[in-house]
């Protein structure tokens, strides 16, 4: 790793759900101040990785350090203090449906600070201004489009000025315009606020276009890492299948089963 200063360090991480191994021996480093992308096919545990970093899940083995603190070993109190320094944007946005846009963004401020109402109002309006939704502050989440909802969730995630912000599939299901808005916003916020950003996504080109460093995970391990160029030029068949979206390759098109001949010739109709 070329960067010396890592905000998140994951060493020899192993995690399994039921009996299925999601990660086996994974090392990931998230450098401070940069945008790092974690990519991979669906179901490879990208979201799980974010939940591990946020301390919502406990790994089977290995260490996860955020800002020098070993996350799985923290007490509840220490973990909650650490989480105040993290922001996370969930795929669904996770907005509170019974609160307005304004109150959603104000929620972490009201919970964690003793600021006066006028101060909270100024802060919330500033955060909403950054994502371009100051005018939408009185709407309910149900009145927002998908892209707007994510931008509100983004404003809420940066309300406490975190050091680390994690995005879970920020681009999935977005039309080209809101995708463009989000792509630009993620990069701008990272640079303007001096954040450290982690993006988990399978939208390859959009993600690579704004990331300084990227990891590609599949089958519980890392199949590629590096800058956008070095990832694009990596000739590993697994990586190329993922980057180019080839239907068949190391990840087979057919779900494993009997051969077609055998299934067709089989007498037993229910087999």
């Amino acid at each position: 790793m070329v960067f010396m200063n890592n905000l998140v360090e994951i060493n020899k991480l192993a995690f399994q759900r039921n009996s299925r191994a999601i990660f086996k021996d994974v090392d990931i480093f998230i450098p401070q101040g940069k945008v790092t992308a974690i990519m991979g096919p669906s179901g490879t545990g990208k979201t799980t990785l974010l939940r591990l970093i946020g301390g919502q899940l406990i790994p089977a083995k290995g260490s996860i350090k955020v800002a020098g603190q070993e996350v799985p070993k923290l007490s509840r109190h220490a973990l909650y203090n650490l989480r105040k320094r993290m922001g996370m944007l969930f795929q669904t946005g996770g907005l509170f449906t019974h609160l307005t846009v304004f109150e959603n963004v104000a929620f972490p401020l009201r919970e964690h600070t003793k600021l006066s109402n006028s101060m909270i109002r100024s802060l919330v309006l500033m955060k909403l201004e950054m994502v371009g939704l100051r005018g939408a502050r009185n709407l309910m989440p149900s009145e927002l489009s998908g892209g707007m909802g994510r931008r509100v969730a983004l404003a809420r995630a940066i309300a406490l000025d975190p050091e680390l912000i994690m995005y879970d599939e920020p681009f999935s299901g977005q039309d080209p315009i809101s995708m463009g808005v989000l792509v630009k916003l993620i990069r701008t916020l990272n640079d303007a606020l001096g954040l450290t950003t982690v993006i988990v996504s399978h939208d390859v080109q959009e993600t690579l276009s704004i990331s300084d460093y990227a990891y590609v995970i599949s089958d519980g391990g890392i199949i590629g890492k590096g800058t956008a160029d070095s990832i694009n030029n990596n000739q590993s068949p697994q990586l190329q299948q993922f980057l180019q979206g080839l239907p068949d390759g190391p990840v087979p098109f057919h779900y494993p089963g009997n051969s077609l001949e055998r299934d067709l010739m089989s007498e037993n109709m229910h087999a």
Binding site: R83, G87, G93, T97, F107, P108, E111
Partner: protein, 260 residues
């Protein structure tokens, strides 16, 4: 054969694990109370959502149940020339049994199912997770106020049920069937004991309040975060709470009957 035994064991373990998780949830909801300044408005909101919004169904049911009991009771009692005992009959059956039990069943259907669906939906849409990631404990912020809201609302609803049901009986017995109002009320007053009948009924409703709210919160919090999962959680809330209420009612009655 051995497989079946193993499956049975697994089933037993799963059930025990669920009870364990439900117990932990209750423990945290009770003991991780938010501070008064933040917690009080949240609890008041929940008393409104669970208690006040259940009032309509409780009041209407109570009125009709009181009227039906009076009608049936009058009919039967007058065969033995004991129609004057209608007041005690209605008051005792409502205060001891119908009040707490029917209120709890209605509460499970109205407020319990709403709680389970609301919390399941919050879970499915990552609202609980994002709250956790904002360093706000959902058990403290979401579960605890709802628990206390149910705990406080249920006995109040049961008291209102009792009052309205007895009034319904008065309407039928006195206003319609022409019983003497003085006999109706004075016989009732002399037959009903405040501690043994009224208070015991309220104790029951406190227990039912805890159990129904607990089941609803657990089912919502533990729901599979999909639309089918939420539907299941809502159904299970109503079924389990109703069974628990009826079963517990028997146990509580058996414990209280010594005094009657």
């Amino acid at each position: 054969m051995l497989n079946h035994v193993a499956e049975l064991g697994q089933l037993g373990l799963d059930v025990l694990r669920k009870y364990g998780r439900a117990g932990i949830l209750l423990y945290r909801a009770v003991f991780r109370v938010p501070n008064i300044r933040k917690g009080f408005p949240l609890v008041v909101q929940q008393i409104y959502a669970e208690g006040v919004l259940s009032l309509l169904i409780i009041v209407v049911s109570a009125l009709f149940i009181g009227m039906v009991v009076a009608l049936q009771g009058y009919h039967t009692l007058s065969k033995f020339g004991a129609a004057q005992q209608l007041g005690p009959l209605v008051a005792l059956s409502v205060a001891r049994e119908l009040g707490p039990v029917v209120t709890a069943l209605l509460f499970a259907g109205r407020a319990g199912s709403a709680l389970a669906a609301e919390i399941g939906l919050m879970k499915a849409t990552d609202q609980l997770s994002s709250m956790e990631m904002m360093a706000v404990d959902p058990l403290q912020r979401v579960i605890a106020p709802r628990f206390w809201g149910g705990f406080i609302s249920m006995p109040l609803l049961a008291i209102i049920f009792n009052i309205v049901a007895i009034y319904g009986a008065y309407l039928v017995g006195v206003k319609w069937l022409g019983m003497d109002a003085g006999a109706f009320w004075s016989n009732m007053q002399s037959a009903v004991d405040f501690r043994l009948d009224i208070l015991n009924g309220i104790y029951k409703s406190v227990v039912f309040g805890v159990v129904v709210t607990w089941i609803a919160l657990y089912q919502g919090y533990d729901a599979v975060p999909t639309s089918a999962g939420i539907a299941n959680a809502t159904t299970r809330t109503v079924v389990y709470s109703s069974l628990a209420v009826l079963g517990l009612d028997f146990v509580l009655t058996a414990m209280m009957i010594g005094g009657w």
